[in-house]
């Protein structure tokens, strides 16, 4: 069990560090935005499971589960709102224009 907890925690830390490093490597803000998803879902989930295993579902585990639910739900909404804000800022409207294609969207940014 101790090894399992260690693996979970270091997996979460490694995943977070990788995603943070990817923020610097990616070129556009939309591409960077994608790397928040693994951290807010898998990394927090791994930490939550590790805490639940170590504390045997006491108050700390319940609060960790609550944090996991909040982070997972709110981050998806936040990513969508942020991408929408970028789109409106760059194009004036979030809706696609009549002569716009998907390939043009990635090339413009």
């Amino acid at each position: 069990m101790s090894l399992f907890i260690h693996l979970l925690v270091w997996f979460a830390v490694a995943l977070t560090l990788l995603c943070c490093a990817a923020l610097l490597i990616m070129r556009t803000p939309i591409e960077r935005l994608h790397y928040m998803a693994p951290v807010s879902t898998f990394a927090v989930l791994a930490v939550t499971i590790a805490i639940a295993c170590e504390t045997r579902f006491n108050q700390a585990a319940v609060k960790s589960i609550l944090i996991l639910v909040i982070i997972s739900l709110t981050n998806s909404v936040l990513a969508h709102a942020t991408a929408r804000a970028f789109r409106i800022r760059n194009s004036g409207s979030w809706q696609p224009k009549a002569d716009e294609h998907m390939n043009d969207l990635t090339r413009k940014e």
Partner: protein, 83 residues
């Protein structure tokens, strides 16, 4: 130093790329850096709360999760046309 303290110490380095993004010229990059830093800080608080062995400290991470969502949403809204 136990597992949780060591993990929290290593996780602090995840804030460095977020900080680099915050100093870049494009405002969109700064917002993404801020959002990622918020999630990393929530994880840091969870690890530190477990390291200190007091479940009360999880309330800090919980409060930060809520505040981070609201604050970043306001920034995104302002980014559309006012900034």
């Amino acid at each position: 130093m136990n597992l949780w303290e060591a993990a929290a110490t290593v996780l602090i380095f995840g804030l460095l790329p977020c900080g680099v993004l915050l100093f870049r010229n494009r405002i969109e990059d700064r917002l993404v850096g801020l959002e990622m830093a918020g999630v990393v800080e929530v994880m840091l608080l969870m690890l530190l709360a477990q390291a200190l062995g007091n479940s009360v400290y999880f309330d800090l991470a919980l409060a930060l999760a809520f505040m981070m969502f609201g604050g970043n949403l306001v920034f995104a809204r302002f980014l559309e046309s006012w900034m």
